[in-house]
């Protein structure tokens, strides 16, 4: 199996789905002739042409709404947000129109769109470009949210998202685009709502999504090597639908959980999971459920400081040691 980057895995997923289904098209800022601001769509315009890969003006509300409208007629738009932070410009279209149209029409209409782009801090671009809106968006019944942590997951989840008949928001990470993982040549899909145990362990469960999974895996190595603690790392992959069974299975095995989350702590994804664990696995716990989140302030610019604002390996190790 060869290694490819997270970026290439996404690119391959998009190319395969464009080739498979003529109703799939890509729109967004700089996705076509510029080859993508982060090169995720590189080469797709040259291969599939103006009809299938369209550059938009900088007008998120209009092109997201256009995608929703086109999807009502049966098309399957894949809409790139250069940053998920720009979703806030299109919030009405995303939440009210994509998220509610099926419900408000009593099931007469559905909205098979994908909105994708990076949703992460850690790149020193200041608070406005560093939002992680998975918790906010997953709060809306009617939408689905996935946060792949590896190239393998990015490809399989993206292909599934495009084939899904509900609005799916794929949140990527600019810090992962250049990282490589093994990805098989043959086609595969990863269902939404199925978590993946990225590392088996018996002493504590680290539950994470997106890049926090990678940070957790590094912390697990240190815990094993320096502290004799064998941590299990559960990668949620999908926020909504959520694989609660996988989380509970791990916690029932390890009896301890530290939730690692690049969200800000208030109403974060980890807050939902902490509530769920105490409700459904209270008797299995040997310690309180703990969290490592982004420090609770808008994303700071200063590069050395921003590294400290996001969950670090050191903070994870420290938090695990406090309960093990």
């Amino acid at each position: 199996m060869s290694k490819i980057t997270y970026r290439k895995a996404l690119n391959d997923a998009l190319a395969e789905e464009l080739a498979r289904d003529n109703d799939v098209f890509i729109i967004g800022e700089e996705v076509a002739q510029y080859n993508g601001a982060y090169k995720v769509t590189e080469g797709l315009w040259a291969r599939f042409g103006d009809k299938r890969v369209l550059d938009t003006p900088i007008t998120e509300a209009a092109f997201v709404g256009l995608g929703v409208g086109a999807s009502m007629l049966g098309l399957r738009p894949v809409i790139e947000l250069m940053f998920w932070s720009f979703a806030y410009v299109a919030y009405d279209q995303i939440v009210n129109n994509a998220g509610c149209i099926r419900y408000m029409s009593g099931g007469l209409i559905h909205c098979p769109i994908v909105i994708r782009g990076p949703a992460n801090g850690g790149t020193n671009v200041g608070a406005t470009h560093s939002h992680t809106p998975e918790s906010i968006l997953a709060n809306n019944p009617g939408v689905k949210v996935v946060c792949p942590a590896t190239a393998y997951d990015a490809k399989g989840l993206m292909k599934t998202a495009i084939r899904d008949n509900d609005p799916v928001f794929v949140m990527e990470n600019t810090l992962l685009y250049g990282e490589s993982w093994e990805v098989p040549e043959e086609e595969y899909l990863i269902p939404l709502g199925v978590a993946d145990v990225k590392r088996e362990g018996a002493d504590v469960s680290l539950v994470a999504h997106g890049r926090a999974v990678i940070t957790s895996l590094k912390a697990a190595e240190i815990l094993a090597g320096e502290h004799g603690i064998n941590a299990e790392v559960v990668d949620l992959r999908s926020i909504r639908p959520l694989d609660e069974d996988a989380i509970l299975k791990s916690v029932r095995k390890t009896h301890r959980a530290v939730l690692v989350d690049e969200n800000k702590p208030f109403c974060a994804v980890s807050a939902q999971i902490a509530m769920m664990i105490q409700e459904k696995a209270f008797d299995d716990l040997d310690a309180p459920v703990m969290r490592v989140c982004a420090l609770d302030a808008p994303a700071i610019y200063s590069p050395p400081l921003e590294k400290l604002q996001l969950p670090t390996v050191e903070r994870i190790v420290e938090k695990v040691l406090s309960i093990c």
Partner: protein
């Protein structure tokens, strides 16, 4: 009669000359149905206590939906804002399903999940019914995009109010409509008040609201809503442009609503002079003027008109009975129609937890 209708020139437009007597009568009966439906709804909203939320009445504006939608073919699509009852009936939705929706019943067009502002009938190319001001304007763009993408010769009529023209997403939609040559027709129904704020107090413009289209290199036109012939003639030109040139148009149709912004508009009688409303009712009412026209053209007699009116009233009364007798949705229905994949019990609908109830 002190009316804005000064000429019959529009009656001579080809699209109007080919109207048969039956088609002219249908336009009248459609307007009567819209008005009687809403009057019945208003009565039960106020006295019955069986409806909740808002009720934005279209009374006074009926000629706009009826006149424009009468031009639509099989591949033309319609989408509007929250004042959506008139359009729903004009596309052929039944009074029963619409009234039942207002009553929040399971037999409503949206199974009681949408309410007054959210009527839909995709089988009739009717895509709502949208509650957020101007939120539908990029959806209309997307419908037009979808038609063009599929190679279908059709267009989208996207309605908005005069209060919606100052929302950024509408301006952004105009830009894309022109840039991408999309067959969308934005129809500004200018009822002259965005809730309680008059057009003069809410919009900066030269000539008229539609003229803003000029700066996007979009053709535009402006007309009175009291003359169905004018509405049809000018809208037909826009539809032809959309069908044949795949170019957008912005139309402004001046009209008037007799009731408040919604029934819960506390200041409905404060921000305008009652004489202004009375003047419209008396001299500019599109229903009254169309009746006069059909009598002048010897298409109908007053007696025949009275029968058409009575039939609309009876249909509305029957719709109220249907709504009252219809069952409410079940409590379990709260959780259906959220996800397509869950409702259809597909493999995708069975993996992971979609709902987070205790």
């Amino acid at each position: 009669m002190d009316t804005l209708v000064k000429t019959d020139a529009f009656a001579e437009a080809e699209v109007n000359r080919r109207l048969t007597a039956d088609e002219k009568i249908l336009l009248l009966s459609q307007m009567f149905r819209s008005r009687r439906f809403e009057q019945a709804a208003l009565k039960f909203y106020q006295v019955g206590g069986q409806m909740g939320g808002f009720l934005h009445l279209y009374i006074g504006q009926e000629s706009v939906a009826v006149g424009t939608i009468s031009l639509c073919g099989d591949d033309d699509h319609i989408i509007t804002g929250y004042r959506d009852h008139g359009h729903a009936l004009a596309v052929g939705m039944s009074m029963n399903e619409c009234m039942a929706e207002l009553f929040g019943k399971a037999t409503g067009c949206s199974k009681g999940k949408g309410g007054s502002m959210h009527f839909f009938a995709p089988d009739k190319n009717y895509w709502g019914g949208h509650g957020i001001v101007a939120g539908q304007t990029p959806l209309g763009l997307g419908l037009a995009f979808g038609l063009k993408y599929k190679g279908v010769k059709g267009c989208c009529l996207c309605y908005l109010g005069d209060g919606a023209v100052n929302q950024g997403v509408y301006q952004a939609s105009l830009n894309l409509a022109s840039l991408w040559n999309l067959p969308v027709i934005y129809i500004i129904e200018n009822n002259q008040y965005s809730m309680g704020t008059s057009m003069e107090r809410s919009s900066a413009f030269k000539t008229c609201l539609a003229a803003r289209a000029e700066s996007y290199n979009i053709e535009w036109d402006w007309m009175s809503g009291e003359n169905i012939y004018e509405i049809r003639a000018k809208t037909w030109t826009a539809i032809q442009r959309a069908h044949n040139e795949s170019r957008p148009t912005v139309l402004q149709i001046d009209t008037y609503r007799y009731y408040g912004h919604s029934v819960s508009d506390a200041n409905a009688k404060k921000y305008r002079d009652p004489e202004e409303i009375e003047k419209y009712r008396k001299f500019h009412d599109p229903l009254r003027l169309w009746q006069k026209r059909l009598i002048e053209e010897s298409v109908l007699t007053e007696e025949q008109i009275a029968k058409i009116d009575a039939a609309a009233g009876e249909e509305a009364a029957a719709a109220v009975r249907f709504a009252e007798e219809s069952p409410l949705p079940e409590k379990a229905d709260i959780l259906s129609d959220v996800y397509f994949e869950v409702d259809h019990q597909t493999a995708a609908g069975r993996t992971g937890k979609h709902f987070f109830n205790e």
